[in-house]
């Protein structure tokens, strides 16, 4: 076991750090979280800067436009971006971390040439159309139907939990091409252009009062057959590639963000005087120990990916642990501020020196509830761990 970075890795880190120190301060103020068009501009501008500097999709293979960075270099990359308070991947999430990697693995040379460069440049934004009202954890029961009509599929159905669909150019879409009961064997993966007639998007209001995702109604939407990734009815396998990426490195930044948030909570507790309470200190110490351990686990998963070439099932262990601890950190923050936590309106502000105001604490707590649901509920993660790692029989 070795936690030291090689000279090559360290020089990659320093080069990146130097660039980040130069460019991050030049970025404008972040867009309002409710203004999706402005968020698209902000996020894609940043993506273009990454691209121009050679830091877009660094883990992608060279033929896909990346630089084939090793998993360890990816880790360093995420660590440095976090450290520099660089913008989050934002609206580029699906393109860079879902659809892109899937096309890298499954796409034809033509498809790679068509779809990958615009993702890397920040020219095209993707959204995801996987879940349906009747197909959540049981994704394989999805019913959105695609019927072949010449060189096109005609798609009709409904998707849900689609983020930033209103500013997306493409949707990675799972459709039913097989018989009704075909489940895993009758699903196809399509890249659906979002400018087609027949697409209606209705935002859903979250418990945080925000509109982060919504429902996508599809009525006779035409998608070229050339936009199909993999064979017809082979979309489930194609999708599993994407999901294993999501559970691999996609959440690495979050543990680092959480550490910084917890450090700010400590500052907040010191400001409010709560730090004098031993229970408060021990609770924070416990959360800190857990985050340290998750960071160790992230490095273990990365080391495993470096040896085997694919993210392992260890990603589920990490995802489960991280989701739950983020909820508990949110809870801790709420407990620290007492009555101020009853208001979304800013009552006490941060002091600009690491102390966090009530609005952010309330927001973090409420958003925590989505962590154990999105990207595979904690219950589904436990099933994966029990069946795929421990070998317990399917129920």
């Amino acid at each position: 076991m070795d936690l030291r970075y090689s000279e090559t890795e360290e020089s990659f880190r320093l080069e990146l750090r130097k660039w980040l120190v130069e460019v991050v301060p030049t970025l404008g103020p972040k867009a309002s979280s409710l203004d999706w068009p402005a968020r698209r501009v902000y996020d894609t501008t940043w993506q273009r800067m990454l691209f121009d500097a050679g830091y877009a999709g660094i883990d992608w293979p060279v033929e896909g436009g990346g630089r084939a960075a090793s998993p360890v270099e990816q880790l360093i990359y995420l660590e440095e971006l976090e450290r520099a308070h660089a913008p989050y991947v934002g609206v580029n999430f699906v393109g860079l971390l879902h659809a892109g990697p899937t096309i890298v693995v499954e796409g034809t040379p033509e498809q790679r040439a068509r779809f990958l460069p615009p993702i890397l440049r920040g020219d095209e934004v993707w959204c995801q159309g996987f879940s349906e009202p009747g197909a959540g954890s049981d994704l394989a029961s999805l019913r959105t139907k695609a019927v072949r009509d010449g060189d096109e599929y005609v798609v009709t159905g409904q998707k849900i939990w689609t983020s930033h669909a209103e500013v997306a150019d493409y949707c990675e879409l799972l459709v039913r091409t097989g018989d009704e009961g075909s489940r895993h064997r009758g699903i196809t993966w399509l890249a659906m252009p979002m400018d087609q007639p027949g697409i209606d998007f209705r935002p859903l209001k979250t418990i945080a009062g925000s509109t982060e995702f919504g429902e996508l109604f599809l009525d006779g939407v035409r998608v070229p057959v050339a936009n199909r990734m993999g064979e017809e009815n082979d979309g489930w396998r194609v999708t599993m590639v994407t999901l294993s990426f999501e559970r691999g490195t996609a959440f690495v930044s979050e543990v680092l963000q959480s550490m910084e948030f917890l450090r700010d909570l400590r500052t907040t507790a010191e400001r409010t005087g709560a730090w004098a309470d031993g229970d408060v200190r021990r609770r924070l110490g416990h959360l800190a120990a857990e985050l340290d351990a998750l960071w160790a686990l992230a490095r273990r998963n990365v080391s495993q990916a470096a040896r085997t070439g694919v993210p392992g099932v260890g990603g589920s262990v990490y995802k489960l642990g991280l989701s739950e601890i983020r909820q508990r950190i949110g809870e801790f923050g709420m407990d620290l501020i007492g009555g101020a936590g009853l208001s979304w309106d800013d009552l006490q502000g941060g002091d600009g020196r690491g102390s966090i105001g009530n609005t952010e604490l309330v927001n973090t707590w409420v958003h925590g509830f989505s962590r154990t649901i999105a990207a595979g509920t904690s219950q589904i993660q436990r099933n994966i761990i029990a069946e795929r790692i421990l070998g317990l029989p399917k129920g």
Partner: protein, 352 residues
Amino acid sequence: MDFELSDDEAALADGIRSLCAGRFPLDRLRAAEGGDGLVDLEGWSELAEAGVFSLQLPEASGGIGLGMAASAVVFEELGRALIPGPLLASHLAAYLLAGPTDGPTDGPTDGRVEGVPDGLVDGVAEGKVVVGAVRRPPTSGTGAFVPALVESWSSLGVLVVVDDEGMAVVDPAELDAVRIARPLDPLTALWRVDRLPEGRRIAGAAAAHRWRRDQAVLGGALLVGLAAGTLEMAVAYAKQREQFGKPIGSFQAVKHMCADMLVAAETARAAVHAAAVTIDQPGVGDADRAAAGAGLLASEAAIKNGRTCIQVHGGMGFTWDVPAHLYLMRARVLSEAIGPVAGLAELVAELF
């Protein structure tokens, strides 16, 4: 960076695991339950021959000269096999208390304590002398002594007493030790010592600090072994035990308990390994914080998994015959040895 076990580390773990399975199978350990023969010198010297005590002693002093990472890997296996006796104290003494016999009493220049009396360490690395350790109990409000519980007293050659000011050695024969008739862990014999003498001071606060830090990591490794052992037991039982016409492991209620056990064990293992590597490779992180956090999580994982293992076994889990309780009780012993969980959490908070 490669945070997976190296081939050497994996081979070391395999070697210790085979030794434990061959020489210390659980039924043989259980035959000595509650008796005086839990720690036999013959077995102890076989552990020594496998390098259990000399792993971190420098080669120049006759040791193997490896670091904490190697020890962590070995101690996980010893924990999983429920090997009885003061493994931690003997291992720590072999490399922390080996040194020249003169000089100041608190100058661990190369990490080892100087000024240790002659003969203290002689034979520890070879398994000829069993070293125990005890934390000096705080005096009560009235100034009266609170009794200390000394593990494996009848087998000890040396007892190390650790407190905030440093460490002292006591000759076990000088103690008025009273056997605890029913120790919580049937595989850990305990003696009650009402008056712990001052003993001979051998090291100051810095050395005691280092002892506690390394103990948290290697105690953590033993605890991870327990957490992993109970996970394996529970999963094996859940696959084989049938109710309602199918294995109970096919029910999500049971499945999710097992999944949570795996998460606890894997997370604690990553923490223990990271702490060990951080000690071996200064510069990769804060060793004190990593050690305290590792001890904390390993302690909780072992206790939680021990409890869940009993639950998965149902009524059988509450019987003496099924060894689930042995892992849980050992977890309590080790959790106490590495320091109260609350203190470890406080330490992490202070260093975060």
